[in-house]
Symmetry: C2
Subunit: 597 residues, 2 copies
């Protein structure tokens, strides 16, 4: 009997002799993806053995992993020979355990903008009737060498009863010479990092002193009510100031609700949150701040604001510590925003030598090419197909969604999220279907659906049957669904090509591709390459990193040095307008081809 530790999901348990890591994971409810039933064929159940002895690599594993990937294994092929510690990358988990909040671990020495200072004041007397503000200033200077320039107005509004209630002891949160919050003695000051996507939002609650993420939560962006993509929302907001107010209000309301949940989970008060960092694409950033967006929707598509911004939480209606600041990372261009800067920050793309590419795939996909420190970015309107929108049986990555498929003759293996009965198909599933159909000749190079035992026609449109569902209509992928996917993938591929050409590079010269974003983390890279969404580079050049924008927001939350680096990135990064490249329409059509290469 061996003890197996699955990290970072934090599940551990016994493993009898002769059970594979996959079998053990299944028993312990670690939801590893597996399509082939443990045959070493689907290559989905990838893990890394961090410590402990396991059986040797099989031939099918040797075919999957490079020599450098020494400790990488397929869970179905690896048998523990003693106690083992296993790292499960997010892309090997089904959705319930891999939300949009997962991302790179923070690798930074905390250097937070807000410092917590425990103070003990001298109670005033008739002989020394010190005012409460000067009393607090003196205690901060005496105890911490902190010279206070200002005490936030909201702090002043509570200072007198609080100091007396706490018997002249308190914890002061000081930011650049300003007291932004006053708490009971020993308050643990928290920070909030938020990545607002067009469709989804990730929120993280962080201990400002240690830099540790205490808890996190994903939620839907309620602004979807104002349009699925940013263009629709810019139009909605521009039509009537009340719409813009409402869009901002519903977003802030959702964030305030989530802040309440996260605080409760961390055993804290929302007023312990003394700083926040928010990132999002430029339109989302502007809609969140209630900045003008009309000019974003018209040539030359300029932001109202590119610089980083500090704004009091109360000015936005955010319910944190009343004197807390919200820091917005800088934007690069009208369609290349603070979330892109955060992604570059988190992946440390700017610091890489050689040629690296980083993509954050979402409703809008931003791509950055770094050639020896020179960065250029592009933005592609990839649309909401990856989120399941405009796809007949499309759905978000939730339990019951088909997330991976594998076609073998007439037989189609499917993997649903949480191993639930299938109810629809999510983005990564759609990508797999298209790739499998293309590989097996069911789709031609132009994306046209050809004859196949599972292809049928309904209302004049061909569709491929994914699975029957008893008496109900089967789940299918139609010719129209494939067309939607083609538009999305063409936008991304054209963006990559445009960047490489701007640098006079061949795509094949790219040494590393970092794929970020919730969706990007869960896709099968081989599928994406098979339909020509990503360039045909060796598999080991790809790295899937989860929500890097959220990680970047957390880095800027706990480190002033990383915050300054974000400003350097935003200033240094060039931006090219995809629609402005020569022969755009012709080249876009060419990029729709469902081919490698």
């Amino acid at each position: 009997m061996h003890t197996i530790d699955f990290e970072p999901v934090g599940l551990r348990g016994e493993c009898p002799e002769g059970e594979s890591l996959l079998g053990c994971a299944r028993r312990l409810d670690v939801d590893l993806v597996s399509l082939c039933g443990g045959m070493g064929a689907c290559r989905q159940c990838r893990v890394q053995v961090v410590a402990g002895p396991v059986s040797g690599r099989t031939a099918s594993e040797e075919a999957v992993f490079s020599g450098r990937e020494r400790n990488h294994r397929l869970a179905c092929q690896a048998y523990p020979l003693g106690d083992v510690k296993v790292h499960v990358p997010p892309e090997s988990l089904t959705a319930p355990q891999r939300t949009q909040v997962e991302g790179l671990e923070l690798d930074v020495r905390p250097d937070p903008p807000v410092r917590g200072c425990e103070v003990t004041l001298s109670p005033p007397s008739l002989a020394a009737p010190d005012s409460d503000d000067l009393n607090l200033r003196a205690a901060l200077e005496r105890g911490h060498g902190v010279e206070v320039d200002a005490i936030d107005y909201a702090v002043l509004r509570e200072i007198s009863p609080r100091l007396r209630q706490w018997d002249w002891r308190a914890s002061a949160a000081v930011r650049a010479g300003e007291v932004v919050a006053l708490g009971a003695p020993s308050t643990r000051w928290l920070g909030l990092a938020v990545d607002i996507g067009t469709t989804k939002i990730a929120c993280y609650l962080v201990d400002l002193q240690t830099g540790r993420t205490l808890c996190s939560r994903g939620l839907m962006n309620p602004q979807i009510a104002g349009g699925e993509d940013v263009i629709a929302r810019i139009y909605t907001a521009g039509k009537d100031p009340e719409n813009a107010d409402r869009l901002q209000g519903m977003l802030v309301e959702a964030l305030n609700r989530t802040v309440g949940e996260l605080s409760a989970e961390a055993g804290a008060e929302r007023t312990d949150i003394a700083e926040a960092v928010v990132v999002g694409n430029t339109a989302i950033h502007h809609l969140f701040l209630r900045l003008p967006v009309g000019q974003l929707g018209q040539s030359p598509y300029v932001p109202a604001l590119r610089c980083a911004l500090d704004v009091k939480a109360r000015d936005l209606g955010m319910e944190l510590a009343p004197g807390a600041w919200v820091h917005l990372l800088p934007n690069i261009a009208g369609f290349c925003g603070a979330d892109h800067v955060a992604m570059i920050l988190a992946t440390r793309l700017a610091e890489r030598e050689g040629t690296s590419l980083a993509l954050d795939i979402g409703t809008n996909t931003e791509i950055c090419l770094n050639v020896r420190g020179r960065m250029t970015s592009v933005s592609c309107a990839s649309g909401p197909a990856f989120e399941g929108a405009h796809i007949r049986y499309g759905m978000r990555a939730a339990p019951g969604a088909i997330e991976h498929v594998c076609l073998d003759g007439d037989r189609l293996e499917i993997q649903t999220i949480g191993n639930e009965p299938p109810i629809g198909i999510c983005g990564s599933g759609l990508l797999d279907v298209a790739a499998q159909l293309r590989i097996h000749g069911v789709l031609d190079s132009g994306g046209r659906m050809l004859a196949h035992p599972r292809v049928r026609e309904r209302e004049g449109v061909r569709e491929f049957v994914i699975c029957e569902r008893g008496g109900r209509e089967p789940i299918t992928v139609s010719q129209q669904d494939v067309r939607e996917l083609q538009l999305a993938k063409a936008a991304i591929r054209l963006g990559i090509r445009a960047l490489c050409e701007a640098e006079g590079l061949d795509e094949r010269a790219v040494g590393e591709v970092v794929v970020a974003g919730a969706f990007g983390t869960f896709i099968d890279i081989d599928s994406a390459v098979a339909i020509g969404m990503l360039p045909p580079l060796p598999r080991e050049r790809y790295r899937q990193v989860g929500n890097a924008a959220g990680t970047g927001a957390r880095l800027a939350l706990v480190s002033l040095e990383r915050r300054r680096e974000a400003e350097r990135i935003a200033l240094a990064c060039r931006y090219i307008e995809l629609a402005g490249i020569p022969g755009f329409h012709h080249r876009f059509a060419a990029a729709c081809a469902m081919d490698r290469g």
Copy 2:
């Protein structure tokens, strides 16, 4: 025929040969005070001849003015011999022309916190798609050498449509590296100075660039609904947070209304006001900011805030330029506030050599003694008697109020404000009555009313008949009214004595007494000395300066140097607690004596 100019009221007109300045003033509706009908006896119609030939001084004038007061005249005794320019000091005017807003002229080189910068931006293009914020920053740097650290959030919320509406030209209001407002090209940026008294408020609209006061307005403090004096309001606010909210709300509402009126008068918009300075006593300052006041009402009576404060107008609900700051001058102690600092600033008391005393007489009276640069202050609860409260026929200084009287045997000459039929008696009138009664032996040293043809008894209380009013009850001053006045004047005199003693000085060593405040400006100094409210110093040592706190607020509004000086004053000024001096009760009783000396 000569042309006569009356300044600063700004009335001018013809004067026939043989008409006195008083006669001319009457015809031109310059409401000079005169009790004696032009006999040179009441000495109320004092003016200064600034330019032009007039008849020589009469014997009665020589008795009134010292040799140094060369151009001082009684208007009834001076006859123009050519075109003449006359300065009318506020104390010589009846109330409609002398409101609580009058004060010292600003004598300062403008060095305002907010600088207006005209900018011309480059319209963005696809080739140079500059964001609006960077575009504005570049224009400020290019055109004015101004490096912007921040653009206020409220400015950003309007930046894009505004710049386009104004065809890429604008006027930016910049304050310490922050763009606080953006206006149409050639905007004249304004400042607002406010002196909030316990009873009355003075508001001034100032051109920030020239330092010129454009217009001003006096209004009542609506917080009177929460109590007549600050102790009552502290109690009201402390009882229930909603009360405190309401007290702040009604004050802000009144100020917003007045700001609208002043802006209209100046032909400007309220959003042209890019900075404000507010002063008030500590309790009023706290109630305006909605700071805690409970601790102000309990020993050791400490302020929540002593330091100067910059707070965004929007945080207070003040409707100015949306990014404007409101600057609050520092406080000295729980009962010695920013208005006292402003008064010291305006009178330049801190810079005087020798020994000077400055009083701001009001519902609360603050007094500062400066001995060769060392300042000590005290606060006296003089109460609202001077405002007409708790006085049977008391009223505020409004048309029809008896403001000066002169007793001659049984005959009593009265002067009403605006020469209207008498309807009541205001503070300066009450002071005159008490002084005349004491001088003529109708009051004894203890303030007891003795027999006199005009003294009668009503409901067991003696009263002195001031004037009959046809069929209605006559206007009187009762024994109780005298008692109220005694309490008020005793508090002030005891304050003066306590300060002198703290410095080991005799009162007679005081070289100059500056009497500030609306009420202090209009009183007859001789009357105040006659009943022992002010020490018996030579008349020329007294100087009445009008609303010096309002002037100090205006100085701090247009000059950063004066603002820094205010901080130095607040830090340097010592404060003594009047109730804490040895033998307080006994000494207070002694100070009630109605005697010179």
